[in-house]
Amino acid sequence: MSSNKQRPSILDKSLSRGKSEVSMTAYALLFSEMVQYSHNRVQSVSDLHNKLSELGERVGVRMVELLFVRERNYKRETKLLNVLLFVKGTLWKSLFNKEADKLDRATDDERTFYLIEKEALVNRFISVPRDKSSINCAAFMAGVIQAVLNCTGFPAKVTALWHKGTTFMIKFDDAVLIRDKQLEGR
């Protein structure tokens, strides 16, 4: 009777966001196992990148919904530059607790953008052996970005390169550019 008023019941409290942190070691060991699992099932470097990319896509699809609900208040982006800034800022902040280092546009091709990260968190403990130096496990991150862009209505292809640290080359489809120009023209 009197005890009911003293403590708010769990149904009265608002939904908590939960702890958004995970131990780095736990993540690193899980990711190492993911890379090994994919590595044992492929024959070539590009297949490995594809497999990691697919795993990343599954993460990206779920992150998009979550972030637009929590951070952007149910509003979706319609402009190209805004969605790229969303990836650079909000997505990176929620995944790695920092913004991506740089976002550049290619000078020769207006469909291509470069997202540069000097030290990718996913690669922190990974030393690639000399004979396989083209493997870049940031392909997982590329998959996340690709899924985010595809799900927000800006179809693109994202690849991870070893350039200035790690560079994600984002190549949009023609239709996206045309649509964006029309929007700006209005």
Binding site: T25, A28, L29, F31, S32, E33, V35, Q36, H39, F125, I126, S127, V128, P129, K132, C137
Partner: protein
């Protein structure tokens, strides 16, 4: 080669629950050994006058756990050929040498 020595030493020890050889000292060198809870042994061979090896051994254990075990391209029991491990080892050794010799 060392593993049976350690097993023998822990059995021979007069005190119960001994952990095996930790320091082996000779005229020209000293060998320190750290045995982890999982049975992995880290050995450092150094100058007898060098101090701070215990800290170095723990640091090496940390580096092993970070850059060798979390590396997907490293298989257990093989020689460690990881760049990041080598880089961090070098700086840990330099750091320890700077500190150790000044304490003589």
């Amino acid at each position: 080669m060392f593993y049976p020595l350690y097993a023998l030493a822990s059995q021979f020890s007069p005190e119960p629950k001994s952990s095996g050889i930790e320091v082996l000292e000779a005229d020209n060198f000293r060998m320190n050994c750290l045995q982890t809870l999982t049975g992995v042994k880290f050995m450092v061979i150094s100058d007898p006058k060098q101090s701070g090896i215990d800290g170095l051994l723990h640091r090496i254990y940390e580096l092993y756990a970070d850059f060798a075990l979390k590396n997907p391209f490293y298989s257990l029991e093989m020689p460690i050929r990881c760049e990041l491990f080598d880089e961090h080892m070098k700086s840990a050794l330099e750091h320890s040498e700077k500190l150790g010799i000044s304490n003589v």
